[in-house]
């Protein structure tokens, strides 16, 4: 059985977009990446470098044009509930209330009635949305919608968690709480996480490994081992080692951001 030995195996993935108007783009250029099972992997890179595209490919939403992506369940060919995703723009069902959104995936798993209700409530509580179960997404702030989307994905307890800037719309304080909550869940349930972020400190705080991506075409420029997430020191982000690491990763990112800016991003 290969089941336990691979998390996500990405081999030579190249992906381009050919829009009906405008020029074709190479979003990802020959990406190879080995993510261990239960690894917390952060993708860090300038805007437009293909982070979302890579998540879409792992999620099975877009056809792989070149290369191969495998998980413990075999080649990725279609979406499935083994790979939960939190989209950058949340993608809540606007005609469903918060709790109906969270229940949707649970009902697909066969959970019904009070069991689904209790589980949905648990995850809504986890993202601090208790009291808003019956609100429609349009009645929530961006940050609240984002947390509802996180609850909906966490509730189905996927083996692989794909998160596209999941805390982007949150204020600093809520963000810290959510980061700690996510780490706690990850430690408890042993998931493989791919986490996209722009925030260097967030990547260093959360990840085992950080992929620093280059500006278009998207490539993986550096892999950095962080592993502060294994620490049980609540003030780890104030330690000198942490600050050094953030500084070091910042330097790598800065070059790429400058390059991206010169390309007109």
């Amino acid at each position: 059985m290969t089941g336990s030995s691979i998390g996500i195996e990405i081999e030579g993935v190249t992906h381009g977009y050919t829009p009906r108007s405008g020029k074709p783009t190479v979003a990802l250029d020959n990406i190879s990446l080995s993510i261990r099972p239960n690894e917390f992997h952060a993708l860090l890179g300038p805007s437009g470098c293909g982070k979302s595209t890579l998540l879409f490919l792992i999620g099975g939403f877009q056809k792989i044009q070149q290369g191969r992506i495998r998980t413990a369940r075999g080649d990725v060919t279609a979406p499935g509930p083994d790979r939960g995703i939190v989209f950058q723009n949340f993608a809540l069902f606007p005609w469903k209330t918060v709790i109906e959104n969270v229940r949707y995936g649970l009902e697909k798993k066969g959970l019904k009635g009070s069991e689904a209700e209790a589980r949905a409530k648990h995850y809504i509580d986890l993202v601090h949305l208790t009291g808003f179960e019956r609100s429609y997404p349009a009645q929530l702030s961006g940050g609240m919608q984002q947390r509802a989307a996180i609850a909906r994905t966490l509730a189905i307890d996927p083996d692989i968690l794909l998160m596209d800037e999941p805390f982007g719309a949150l204020d600093a304080q809520t963000r810290r709480i959510m980061q700690e909550e996510l780490l706690a869940i990850w430690r408890r349930t042993s998931k493989t996480v791919v986490f996209v972020t722009h925030d260097v400190a967030e990547a260093v705080f959360l990840a085992d490994t950080i992929s620093v991506m280059s500006a278009r075409p998207g490539r993986i420029k550096r892999l950095v081992q962080a592993e502060f997430n294994r620490s049980d020191d609540p003030h780890i982000h104030k330690s000198p080692a942490f600050a050094d690491m953030v500084e070091q990763v910042w330097d790598m990112v800065r070059d790429e951001v400058d390059q991206a800016r010169m390309q007109g991003h």
Partner: protein, 246 residues
């Protein structure tokens, strides 16, 4: 109170109507006084003529409307979801788009004669287009990511169509239904003006021919009232269905 305030302009129009007619500025024939029209309306209603003709009109119209909703919805959905259906049907829909359906009244008379079928068919034709377009555009406009979301939560492709695409397209579908409802009234009356032996449109036409202008105005008021009530009721229903919208 707020509703009363909202419809004050209507009261003013009725008042002006009454004044202009009473002042003798225009002949009573061209514009019978509003109060006289109302009195005639009550008489007509009591005689039972209005009801029987309204039932005849609405019966036919609703059948044509219902048929258009079912078939138009199915065609629009097929066009949105199956590429070759789109390629096959879209040119036909496009060609007929600018054609006013009332232009077909004489032709339909030849095809179906004076009976119920001709009016049903015209209403059906008029309502078909808005239903096809609303369903097609509604389904096409749904954010792809919503479908992806459902798939990654465990939905099958078919479930995505039923549980995501249709609910997400509902605002557009409701707009299409409302347009179709307006077309239904339009074609119901205009077809009966030309080809009918009963119905509200027929009443308007024959009162006009006989020179019974009060009765004609009274029937026009009835048609307007029916159309307005139907639209209001529809909006209330639609507002309830779409209560999730901001």
């Amino acid at each position: 109170m707020a509703t009363l305030l909202r419809y004050t302009p209507l009261l003013i129009v009725a008042l002006l109507w009454e004044l202009i007619s009473r002042s003798g500025l225009v002949s009573q024939q061209m514009l019978p006084a509003f109060s006289d029209v109302l009195r005639t309306l009550v008489e007509l209603a009591q005689s039972g003529d209005l009801l029987s003709n309204a039932v005849a009109s609405l019966g036919r119209a609703l059948l044509g409307f219902g048929l258009a909703v079912v078939l138009g919805g199915a065609l629009g959905a097929a066009m949105a979801l199956i590429p070759f259906v789109y390629r096959g049907i879209d040119p036909i829909v496009q060609i007929f788009y600018p054609l006013p359906k009332s232009a077909l009244i004489p032709l339909v008379l030849v095809w179906f004669g004076l009976g119920d079928k001709s009016k049903m068919f015209l209403v059906f034709l008029g309502c078909l287009q808005p239903m096809i377009l609303a369903t097609f555009n509604g389904l096409r406009g749904v954010d792809t990511i919503l479908g992806w979301s459902a798939r990654s939560l465990g939905a099958s492709r078919l479930e995505v169509v039923r549980e995501v695409l249709f609910p997400a397209a509902l605002p557009q579908l409701m707009t299409g239904l409302r347009t179709a409802l307006a077309f239904m009234f339009l074609l119901m009356v205009s077809s009966e003006l030309v080809i009918a032996t009963n119905g509200l449109g027929y009443l308007i036409g024959s009162f006009g021919d006989q020179g019974s202008y009060r009765e004609m105005f009274a029937t026009i008021l009835v048609v307007t009232g029916l159309g307005f009530a139907a639209d209001r009721a529809f909006l209330a229903w639609s507002g309830h269905l779409l209560r999730w919208r901001p």
